[in-house]
């Protein structure tokens, strides 16, 4: 029996006023950091919102670790964390209170949740601010609290939409280290980013979508080979593929 994919998308379709996702199929094995790239309006965020259950697909199937999100949504959600570009925070709650609420939603064992919360708050350098309301935090601090919220229930699949937007270099580095650590610990991480260097340096595999379709997918070397015989950067490859 083969390994169960962390995420399997088959013939996904979604339209709003016009088609946004057109027959998208994608398989992401577990234990990888996968970068989903694409120009603005390519359908990246829509795809991820369908995967996380925030949007219903018009057609197609999505499964997370073998759990179909339409038939077994709770089982799929239990192992997934979603971190959008705008952190899902309550400004009036403190980081500790926010983590307690998220842990409650995921029905974590209180003892395990408290231990994990303390570990995350210390690791993300938020321990001294654990009783400070989020309303006074910088964007980077809020992003770290949201990341702690995403990690507290120890997800097997972590999905992040533009996680580095608006972060300074130090914060961006901290978030990248955190993501790499998750992958090293066995989790699967999917990120969308416009910063191609991030995908180039961090991702084990990269998918490029445009106009709701998967244009290319593979390791960095696979994509370079697809783009042409010369020594192309990911940026060159991306521009060549999406310009077609």
């Amino acid at each position: 029996m083969g390994e169960v994919a962390a995420l399997r998308i088959e013939h996904l379709r979604k339209s709003f006023d016009k088609p946004v996702i057109r027959d998208l199929s994608l398989t992401i094995p577990p234990g990888q950091l996968y970068a989903l790239l694409g120009p603005n309006g390519a359908g990246k965020t829509t795809t991820l919102r369908i995967v996380t259950g925030l949007l219903d697909a018009d057609a197609g199937q999505v499964s997370i670790f073998g759990h179909d999100i339409a038939r077994e949504p709770l089982a799929a959600k239990a192992v997934t964390a979603w971190l959008p570009d705008e952190p899902m925070l309550y400004d009036k709650l403190t980081p500790a209170e926010y983590l307690a609420f998220v842990a409650g939603l995921w029905r974590m064992d209180p003892r395990l949740a408290a231990t994990e919360a303390e570990r995350l708050l210390r690791w993300l350098d938020l321990w001294d601010q654990r009783d400070t309301r989020c309303e006074g935090f910088s964007r980077g601090m809020k992003q770290k609290v949201a990341l702690a919220g995403a990690l507290i229930h120890q997800p097997r699949l972590l999905i992040l939409d533009e996680p580095l937007t608006g972060l300074d270099a130090t914060m961006a580095r901290a978030v990248k280290d955190a993501l790499r650590a998750q992958v090293d610990a066995g989790a699967t991480v999917i990120i969308t980013t416009h910063i191609l260097e991030v995908a180039e340096r961090m991702a084990d595999r990269i998918g490029i979508i445009a106009d709701g379709r998967l244009l290319a997918e593979g390791t960095l070397d696979d994509l370079r080979a697809l783009a042409g015989p010369d020594e192309a950067t990911l940026e060159d490859t991306f521009i060549r593929l999406t310009a077609r």
């Binding site: 959600k77 009036k92 408290a114 303390e118 654990r130």
Partner: protein, 482 residues
């Protein structure tokens, strides 16, 4: 646009008055119609009163002086409540203070423009209630009462000074984070000052069969309140005594000037402190109890803890809740002390009505007022489970109020609790059910605007349910005791 230079004091005053006027006049056609109808009713009542009093001599008799002083006191406490609210908004909710303080304008000019702006908007609010009945009376035979207009201006000036002063003291004592909540509680207390005063007098041993305001009047007359000495100056000014009018207005203007001079630095400091809300909580009870105590496997408890924290930390929400209680509790105490047993069903009605209304507010917060609906959607919780949990949380949050009324009622008429509790719980559940049915996730900061747009229907339904269940509860309690 104004004809004054934008950075000048008159220009900034005109700017603040315009903003104040627009924030008073904001709202859609529905609000404009309501305000128009209210105004027409006030004017019609004013003309009726004026015609009735046309040939009645009105002068500074001892009883009239007391009445005028009490009326001035009501307007004064209302003015403080309004000024405090405006000062709080100026410090915390004003989008233009960053701009004004960063512009090459002296802080003194900014403060003065805000101070006059606050006084102007308070005056507009008070004039709405006072002018329609007062002006016809002045015009139709009692020109001396024009002094009451001057008195009103003086009261507004003094109330503005007090409001700003109280706000700055609150910021100083409570700190920038708690200041807004404390301010809202204070506003509610000032707003309900007369109701609270009537209870203070009642508990001071002046019980009787009169209502709260009659009690206050009786107490004031017995103590010759506002009839002699300096204490009679406002009332005499109101009755057109020129010397008293001059003293009152000059005194108010002087106080206004001194306030501006005294608070110049403090106002800027309070504004700067307001920007430092991201400091650690002063209240570290939760921290002392350890991180582990905050975590729970119970979905209901997780939501309840979050909602209580969010309600407690949202001054606007807290104020709305408290306002309902400030006006309910004195009424409850009053009715409970009545010797006429027959009046108790009124308390049962009020209890069910207010609990259901409060539940409507809470249900909006818990169910629709969700800042991060996506977080709840991606959580591994079935929608039905989540909705059930929110229903339970709404009922749990409203339950203490119902329990309080039930306890009070049980001391006088235990049988009526049988009518109060089930119908109160039904009202709470129905209010939450209506909100669940009409749920539309909206950012919590839209709480003040929940009576507009899609929530109108929900509010109307909750109101109808509150009235119907309140009436049913009152009828049932009457029947049970008949």
């Amino acid at each position: 646009m104004t004809r004054f230079a934008p950075a000048s004091l008159p220009g900034l005053i005109a700017h603040n008055l315009r903003i104040g006027w627009r924030s008073n006049a904001k709202g859609g056609l529905r609000r404009k119609i309501v305000v128009g109808v209210l105004l027409a009713v006030f004017v019609a009542a004013g003309i009726g009163i004026a015609l009735t009093l046309r040939n009645v001599p009105i002068g500074p008799s001892p009883a009239a002086l007391t009445v005028m002083t009490l009326a001035a006191l009501v307007m004064f406490t209302f003015g403080i409540s309004q000024a405090l609210s405006r000062a709080e908004a100026a410090i915390y909710g004003s989008d233009d203070l960053d701009l004004l303080f960063s512009a090459p304008i002296a802080p003194r000019v900014v403060l003065w423009s805000k101070l006059v702006g606050i006084a102007g908007t308070v005056l507009i609010s008070e004039a709405f209630f006072v002018l329609p009945p007062l002006v016809p009376v002045i015009v139709l035979g009692h020109p001396a009462l024009a002094g009451a207009l001057l008195l009103l201006v003086a009261l507004v000036l003094v109330a503005t000074c007090c409001g700003l002063g109280v706000m700055l003291v609150i910021v100083r004592l409570a700190g920038p984070r708690a200041a807004r909540s404390v301010a809202q509680v204070t506003i509610a207390l000032f707003g309900g000052a007369m109701a609270i005063a009537s209870q203070a007098i009642r508990f001071g041993g002046h019980a009787g069969r009169h209502n709260g305001f009659a009690l206050v009047y009786g107490w004031a007359r017995a103590h010759r309140f506002g009839q002699a000495g300096l204490g009679s100056l406002p009332a005499r000014a109101g009755f057109g005594n020129p010397l008293a009018g001059l003293v009152v207005v000059a005194g108010a203007l002087m106080l206004f000037a001194i306030t501006g001079w005294l608070f110049e630095r403090n106002f800027a400091r309070a504004f700067q402190q307001a920007g430092q809300r991201g400091v650690p909580l002063l209240h570290r009870g939760a921290a002392r109890s350890g991180l582990r105590a905050r975590f729970t496997p119970s979905l209901v408890r997780a939501i309840l803890t979050k909602e209580i924290a969010l309600v407690w930390r949202n001054p606007q929400v807290l104020a709305t809740m408290l306002l309902r209680l400030v006006y309910l509790v004195p009424m409850m105490l009053l009715l409970l002390q009545q010797h006429q047993f027959v009046l108790l069903p009124a308390l049962v009605f009020a209890g069910v009505f207010v609990t259901t209304q409060l539940s409507g507010d809470l249900a909006w917060l818990v169910i629709s007022g969700e800042d991060t609906p996506d977080l709840l959607t991606v959580a591994p919780v079935a929608r039905a489970t989540l909705r059930r949990a929110k229903l339970v949380v709404t009922m749990l949050m409203a339950a203490p109020l119902l329990a309080l009324i039930a306890l009070g009622l049980a001391s006088r008429a235990p049988i009526m609790v049988v009518a109060l509790v089930p119908l109160g719980l039904l009202g709470t559940a129905t209010a939450a059910g209506i909100q669940l049915r009409l749920e539309r996730p909206t950012p919590r900061k839209a709480f003040g605007r929940r009576t507009q747009g899609a929530s109108i229907l929900a509010n109307m339904l909750v109101m109808v349910v509150a009235l119907a269940l309140g009436g049913a509860a009152a009828g049932l309690s009457f029947w049970l005791t008949a």
